[in-house]
């Protein structure tokens, strides 16, 4: 259980975090979502005790990270954005070192390492030099490192960044497996990834929490808005004007106003699928052929926008 209250972090005049509070329950996967530079890594660094907050508290299973750092850190396994790997050690040597560092009793070390390596799927490379491993394996070794000492809480900062799709699927599966008996915070800037693995999502933007929600609620909230992209042959201005008249369309942005026009259409979800039919007939009637017509996945920025504006309402 992690309790975070009013976390503030200043770097000189820059305010990286402006008061963040949330809790992570036992055996819950919390997705930590935000664009680059939003303060994800800073928050995680503060939770793990790497940095101290300017103000605010972090409690790990009841232990304050600043007041009882040893007890708190014992319960955390941390995979930073750059995995802390010694490239001149073999996987086995490295994990043994981590066992020593985290105080795993000598008798249990061998078994413990064997369990972890088979769990993260690196048992085939334990004798190899970390520097010689592929990026995916390195990332797994990084996760293995976080698992050493069986901490009940795992904090994984962008665990899938830079991996190929196969590797990403592997890691996601691994996190799901681990979530059975770990509380996990996973950060990412990819929405779909978080949606897939997290129970709950914290969205952070400009050092503030934009939303804390279950994945279900979040998708529902997101589904209030749908953006459509349409390319067509015709005058963009006229098209936009006509489109705005269709009920259910809240906004139209012209992306390209050449001979081949392109507009982005914002609709309110209540309108349902009928809106597309309405657009089609309107365009057909006007004699503007539709070249491409598809719905747009919302970008993170849009989500924040929508969430923050949604909150405002």
């Amino acid at each position: 259980m992690i309790e975070i209250k009013n976390l503030v972090k200043h770097y000189g005049d820059k305010k990286a975090l402006k008061g963040i509070s949330f809790t992570v329950k036992d055996n819950e996967v919390l997705g930590f979502l935000g664009p680059n530079g939003a303060g994800k890594s800073t928050t995680m660094n503060i939770i793990t005790g790497y940095l101290s907050s300017t103000s605010g508290t972090v409690k790990i299973n009841g232990h304050d990270i600043l007041e009882q750092p040893d007890l708190a850190k014992k319960d955390i396994g941390y995979l930073p954005e750059q995995p802390p790997l010694y490239l001149d050690m073999t996987v086995n040597e490295y994990l043994t070192f981590m066992c020593e560092l985290k105080g795993v009793p000598k008798k249990e070390r061998k078994e413990h390492i064997a369990t972890i390596t088979s769990l993260v799927g690196i048992d085939a490379v334990t004798g190899r030099l970390i520097g010689n491993l592929s990026k995916g394996y390195k990332q797994r070794v990084g996760i293995a490192q976080a698992l050493v000492g069986d901490p009940p809480i795992l904090i994984l900062d962008e665990p899938t960044v830079g991996l190929d799709p196969n590797q990403i699927i592997g890691i996601r599966k691994l996190i799901k497996d681990l979530s059975k008996n770990h509380s996990i915070i996973v950060s990412s800037h990819i929405l779909s990834e978080i949606q897939e693995i997290a129970d709950r999502v914290v969205i952070i933007h400009h050092g503030k929490i934009a939303a804390v929600d279950t994945v279900k609620d979040l998708s529902q909230r997101l589904s209030n808005v749908t953006n459509l992209l349409m390319s067509f042959k015709g005058p963009a201005k006229d098209v936009a004007a006509r489109l705005k008249m269709i009920p259910g369309i809240t906004d139209v942005n012209i992306r390209n106003s050449g001979s081949f026009g392109e507009v982005e259409i914002t609709t309110s979800k209540q309108a349902g699928d009928e809106i597309r039919t309405a657009i089609f007939f309107m365009m057909a009637k006007a004699g503007w052929p539709i070249l491409e017509f598809r719905s747009l996945d919302p970008t993170l920025e849009e989500i924040f926008l929508s969430i923050t504006t949604g909150k405002g309402e």
Partner: protein, 255 residues
């Protein structure tokens, strides 16, 4: 602390660095020993004392990477987020460098055995020099670790360590010079000769008080003074603590 010590110490021997350093030390000490041996008179303390001048090269090489390297690799996060004290990390690294020095020093122990076997004398002065060697190694290694902490760049760390150790080598000389210049300045101010010479001595003494070489000088004769060892140890502790505080600063610094 032991985990850090073990990793750091073994890492010297996982890469060629440790072996090469050992080979160089073996060769230089061997040359020293061979020269004395061929003359038929071997004073181990002379050998050790001349080996002390290698500190200025060896210590920066050993210590320059100790923290700078971690920062580069991103492994330093382990020290901050593991349930261990940062100070014990500093101490672990310190002892691993000391242990490497000890391994190098095994050469000299072998020389001692050879000397004894050849009917020479390994007197108390030799043991005094051994003691001084390790206490001064402790002082200089702690300085090297401090240099490694204050800079992200290994080369800068090495140069800083080199300069501080050089300064240590030159305290007496510097003291003399500063004392001399003080007395020169005073002579322009029209102060009489006795006062000038007193001031010169006082300044020179004050500066050379810091000279660890002078402090431990008598050990080679078998006169052991606790204050010289305490000087080395206390300043070593001070530098290690300072290093620890600088590392810790990264946590709370707002910069």
């Amino acid at each position: 602390m032991f985990a850090i010590f073990k990793r750091e110490f073994l890492s010297y021997f996982r890469t060629p660095v440790g072996y090469v350093a050992l080979a160089i030390f073996t060769f230089i000490s061997g040359f020293n020993f061979y020269t004395l041996f061929s003359e038929g008179t071997v004073s181990i303390s002379d050998e050790i004392n001349s080996l002390r001048s290698l500190f200025i090269i060896i210590v920066p090489i050993i210590t320059m990477g100790s923290f700078a390297e971690d920062r580069k690799r991103g492994t330093e996060v382990l020290y901050y987020t593991s349930p261990i004290d940062l100070f014990s990390v500093v101490v672990g690294k310190f002892f691993s460098a000391m242990a490497l020095c000890f391994v190098m020093f095994i050469n000299v122990f072998i020389h001692m055995i050879v000397v004894s076997a050849c009917g020479g004398r390994v007197g108390i002065g030799a043991w005094g020099s051994v003691l001084v060697f390790f206490f001064m190694a402790a002082l200089f290694i702690s300085i090297g670790i401090f240099a490694s902490v204050i800079s992200d760049n290994q080369i800068i760390s090495a140069i800083v360590a080199f300069l501080i150790i050089l300064l240590n080598n030159l305290f007496s000389v510097i003291g003399e010079y500063i004392g001399f210049s003080v007395s020169t300045i005073m002579s322009y101010m029209g102060i009489n000769a006795t006062a000038r010479s007193n001031a010169k001595t006082a300044v020179a003494n004050a500066i050379s008080w810091f000279d660890p070489f002078e402090k431990t000088y008598e050990f080679r004769n078998g006169i052991f003074s606790a204050s010289a060892l305490i000087y080395c140890v206390s300043f070593a502790i001070f530098f290690l603590y300072l290093s620890f505080r600088i590392l810790e600063k990264k946590r709370w610094s707002q910069k």
